[in-house]
Subunit: 351 residues, 2 copies
């Protein structure tokens, strides 16, 4: 964890200098992708996408807003900063190929801590076949800020937008929901306990899965690969970063349709349920509004039902309706509720 | 200026929400470039560079490090945040086509202030023919952070790297140097006077040019256009963001050569000289080490001398030598000095 490393001399980074730091952090990078013509070390990286389309997405993570270094190992943070961007690329049915990484750091941070952060970023790059091709490092007057831009490729005919959902399409989601949110709740609870009594050891036993969902999320490359294998192209797709409700409404708004989903179809892991119930939270609300699951929410034509129904990675949770602007959840007692775009910020404020 | 707007209710941004804010800031954007297939509003933007190469560059600007909102109008700040990235693209002999913009802002900032920032970014985009295609907005626990990624295009054979300088090549620089640095010194001086006595009005008379160099730098698209017109392709190129010395050493290191430049050839505007002398600074040191001029430093083959020598935008300041690692300045009394990569940070600390 970071605190152990804050004892380093204040000017370690200053001594190395910006260019020295960039060299240090990027010295072992070898470009793997054909489309990465030139990486770190010039005014700009050079990419070659030939006849393919390039997709570009960017995300910024701010200490104290998106992460707490008290309980976030820097390697995990780097991994998540990278994979959350890959997730946006996969949500276009595209493949991430390059990232640029900009970081602002206070002088208090050690080089070893930055190495850990980069180790996490580069590990994610290795696993998902992505090249780190550029970036910027600068000082911060306060905490750590990470801004990553990911660039990916797709054939034009493969691209999936948010706007293609049509009446009767099936609404599907990969993996399970609410886990990352419950992981965060557990970490926040233990932080409070620690703040009140630092001698108490954190108790996370039995919650490794939800903690990993929060700290080290994996983007669903495997689901994109599955689409190719089973010959399905979703009609619309988005990744679940802000919460299922919010993402579902994005798809419906951009597709000018409505939706109905079913509570009993929502995929929720048993650890998520146990953790939620232990903290007096409704697991369904966690699944609807908890963010950062980085699952893929997508719609497929009814004709593809047979291809998708037995895929263990995917749950069919409802269908698209022609009732533009009407977003419904049917609960286990068959009561109908309106879904609102509460998202992740809102529920965090409540908790 | 920002302070007048900090009186707004604390939760103005919260009320609008992230998606509302993005919609508000991007509602009037119309894509202009053929390569911009899809802009803001999906998981990623989609670009089509066809047979051309894409170049990608990114920069992060942090309040308190790169800018001071006390004397930086937000529209200028947005303009500079965009144009400093365009400058990196031009330094590849490429043309910027798209940007993504990520900002972290404290709740204290008003929507009007963010509108001004975006007005500046979008004005730069309009003037330089660039599309804003994506981004991220998030909260900041402290000041304003802007991270911009610019993407541009070039034919492969047009691209100019830092590594192509060869013995006897002429070293050239566009425009003039040291102005942006002196503009910053003047602003800092007036800030100090203001802090000591807020009733004193700032006195910038006669310094409009150096102030504009600092607050609203223009990247040298015209120089790139000139290369096409006169049929010159530089052998190496970099933009002057950290200072002439630092950039020259980058070119020499990557090209594995040395250089000799001449003090009496350095282009320095009369306002820069007057401002420097008024503050007991050596104008040559300001030109060598002052950053943020966003001029282009490049080398051309000796064979191109006739084409370049009468271009009013360009000064020939020296030549490349085979003495790898030897970087020399010949001063006005023909004394030879070693050039060090002092750059901008170093001289700022001294001042």
């Amino acid at each position: 964890m970071l605190e152990d490393k804050n004892q380093k001399p204040l000017n370690e980074l200053e001594e190395l200098g910006e260019f020295g730091l960039i060299r240090h952090l990027t010295q072992n990078i070898e470009l793997k992708n054909k489309s990465s013509v030139k990486g770190v070390g010039d005014d700009a990286a050079v990419l070659d996408y030939k006849e393919k389309k390039a997709v570009v997405t960017t995300d910024m993570m701010v200490e104290g807003i998106h992460f707490d270094l008290l309980y976030t190992p820097l390697k995990h943070l780097g991994y998540k900063a990278a994979t959350s961007n890959f997730s946006d690329v996969y949500a276009m049915n595209a493949t991430p190929k390059q990232i640029t990484v900009s970081i602002a750091v206070s002088n208090r941070i050690s080089i070893e801590a930055l190495d850990e952060l980069y180790d996490g970023i580069l590990l994610a790059c290795e696993i998902y076949g992505v090249d780190l091709v550029g970036g910027d490092t600068t000082s911060s007057t306060s905490g750590l800020i990470i801004s990553i831009t990911a660039i990916g490729e797709a054939e034009e005919k493969e691209l999936v937008y948010r706007s293609g959902a049509a009446e009767n399409d099936l609404i599907c989601v990969s993996g399970d929901l609410g886990g990352a949110f419950m992981g965060l709740q557990l970490l926040e609870r233990e932080k409070q306990i620690f703040n009140e009594n630092p001698t108490v050891q954190p108790d996370f036993s039995g919650y490794d899965y939800v903690l990993e969902r929060q700290l080290k999320p994996e983007p669903r490359k495997d689901v994109i690969d599955m689409f190719r294998e089973i010959g399905v192209k979703p009609t619309s797709m988005i990744d679940v970063s802000d919460g299922l409700s919010s993402e579902l409404i994005h798809i419906c708004q951009q597709s000018k349709v409505g939706c109905t989903i079913y509570e009993d179809k929502l995929p929720i892991d048993i650890q998520t349920i146990t953790a939620a119930e232990g903290m007096n939270l409704d697991p369904t609300v966690c699944a609807l509004n908890g963010g950062e699951d980085y699952e893929l929410l997508f719609t497929v034509s009814l004709d593809d039902y047979d291809k998708i129904k037995d895929q263990r990675r995917v749950s069919v949770i409802g269908h698209i309706t022609s009732d533009k602007g009407i977003y419904q959840l049917v609960d286990k007692s068959e009561q109908v509720h309106a879904i609102s775009a509460q998202g992740w910020d809102a529920i965090l404020k409540k908790s």
